[in-house]
């Protein structure tokens, strides 16, 4: 085992871990003040719950051989990580490090979904949802792409999880927004813009681990992934800022931060396969496409409160398709549309559509069942929604002054 690669995968795991608290602040700043604790806790509890599910059966379902079902899902042979010792090698670094790294992806994916249903979803139901969604949706899709399943066989490229994480979460968000319904009193302004920017900055910082870490080695491709990740995020942030400046005469920080995240999402599947110009194109494309989609969604009847579909669903789909367009053999070994291999785009589209369909149907099914279970249910009561979920679900207020508290 190589100590440099091991060090890099461990650091990358820590960086990706840090993204989920970053997301907590990104989302937490966007809601109303009375829901900030609740919104933050959605992300934080994903860490707590998914960490347990992953080491018990999640990793096993995603990454072991599923026998006859192997095209669709892994098996239980590594339940409780049985048989994986400190010497197990995952290709130059410990398999335990790979488990850590993959765990962090599993944590952030359902946390992303929460943006769709903040300010009205029942917290205890969410905890149960996490267990089922990781088991029934995340682990299988992860197996398809990275665990030896059918999408991998198809030859689809997904360097760091454009379909597994972002398309998957983005579609599940639509399903959740549909079933939980609209907020009674959506706020007009985010309650804490510095939190939004802090969260976006932590996400960007952690995303270097997400994308460059996905090379699973400290080498030139990792450095390339690092650089294109940054380039695409910058391009998308700038694009979004310019559109916003043109349309409103002002360059809102929330818009720029959203643009950055959209760029990070879009470059994710492509990060090990494209160069600087590909990254610029993907970033600018993400800025334009996600902006338009977000505007359309706001006009739709669906209350995807924090624009998970527009940013992660559409951004991830654009990134997956763009990977097929801009990938170049010199970097990741596979040529794309621009280099004459048009077929790759079709494969990419197929992987997006399959993930979309599967994730949508299963998320609907899980939520439908949880809604019917006595004592659970999806939506909080009207008085709880009015007083805010910080008090209703957590018995806490975000901030309290001295004296008149």
């Amino acid at each position: 085992m190589d100590s440099g690669h091991t060090a890099w995968v461990l650091v990358a795991s820590a960086l990706v871990f840090f993204m989920t608290p970053g997301l907590a602040f990104f989302y937490g700043g966007l809601v109303r003040a009375k829901n900030v604790v609740n919104t933050i806790m959605y992300s934080f509890m994903s860490i707590a719950v998914v960490s347990i599910v992953w080491v018990l059966w999640g990793y096993s379902l995603a990454f072991t051989d599923g026998g006859g079902l192997n095209q669709w899902v892994g098996g239980f042979s590594a339940f409780g990580l049985s048989g994986i010792g400190v010497d197990a090698d995952a290709g130059g670094f410990p398999e335990l490090a790979f488990i850590c790294f993959q765990l962090m992806f599993a944590i952030i994916t359902p946390a992303l979904i929460t943006g769709a249903f903040v300010e009205r979803f029942k917290f205890t139901t969410y905890l149960v949802f996490l267990v089922f969604w990781i088991t029934l949706v995340y682990a299988p899709v992860c197996h398809w792409v990275w665990g030896g399943g059918w999408i991998a066989d198809l030859g689809a490229l997904d360097f760091a999880g454009g379909t597994v994480i972002h398309v998957n979460a983005g579609i599940a968000a639509v399903a959740a927004a549909m079933l939980v319904g609209k907020r009674r009193n959506p706020g007009v302004e985010p309650h804490n813009v510095p939190y939004v920017v802090l969260g976006a900055a932590i996400l960007w910082f952690g995303w270097f681990g997400f994308n460059a870490g996905s090379e699973l080695a400290a080498d030139g491709v990792a450095a390339s992934a690092f650089l294109v990740t940054n380039t695409a995020a910058a391009a998308a942030a700038l694009t979004w800022g310019i559109i916003s400046q043109i349309r409103t005469g002002k360059m809102g920080a929330v818009g720029v931060a959203t643009g950055a995240v959209a760029g990070l999402v879009a470059i994710t599947p492509a990060s090990g396969f494209v160069g600087i110009y590909g990254a610029l194109a993907i970033g600018i494309g993400a800025g334009v496409i996600c902006f338009i989609c977000l505007e359309l969604m706001e006009r739709s009847g669906l209350d995807d409160a924090l624009a998970v579909f527009a940013v992660h669903g559409v951004g991830g789909a654009w990134g997956a398709v763009a990977t097929g367009i801009f990938c170049t053999a010199a970097i990741g070994g596979t040529a794309g549309l621009i280099d004459g291999n048009a077929g790759q785009v079709g494969i990419q589209v197929a992987s997006v559509l399959a993930t979309t369909a599967y994730s949508f149907v299963l998320t609907i099914a899980i939520l439908f069942v949880l809604d019917k279970v006595p004592g659970l249910g999806l939506r909080v009561s009207e008085p709880d929604e009015d007083v805010g979920l910080d008090l209703a679900a957590h018995g806490e207020r975000g901030t309290v002054g001295d004296g008149a508290d």
Binding site: N185, V387, G395
Partner: protein, 117 residues
């Protein structure tokens, strides 16, 4: 001239403000306060999750508008209808306090009294 101080639920502010404007109010201000009435307060978790304490502390919003005397009933009606909870109303819907204003000055022009409203 009358000062109208209405204590309402924070989530109703937009409705109340709209109703005030419809009733002809052209100026007002508001701020968040903490209040207690029949509605005794809220349950907060203490001891890091071990116990619950009741705090005499409901978040409320205070809306203040100074009006001419003849608008009194229209303004009360506007506030009551926009601030009352669906159905029968609910404890904590708020109160309105009225008091006399003896003089008003518009800083910009120095106008006084009724003209400055």
């Amino acid at each position: 001239m009358l000062k109208v101080e209405a204590i309402v639920r924070p989530e109703r502010v937009n409705e109340v403000v709209a109703a005030l404007q419809d009733a002809g109010c052209r100026g007002f201000h508001y701020e968040n306060i903490t209040g207690q009435g029949i509605q005794q307060g809220v349950e907060v978790v203490t001891g890091r999750g071990g116990r619950v304490a009741s705090r005499a502390a409901m978040p409320k919003t205070l809306i203040v508008t100074v009006i001419s005397d003849d608008m009194k009933e229209a303004v009360i009606e506007a506030i009551v209808s926009s601030a009352r909870s669906e159905g029968e109303g609910a404890i904590g819907d708020g109160k309105i306090f009225m008091s006399e204003i003896s003089d008003v000055v518009r800083v910009r022009t120095g106008e006084r009294g009724q003209d400055a409203l």
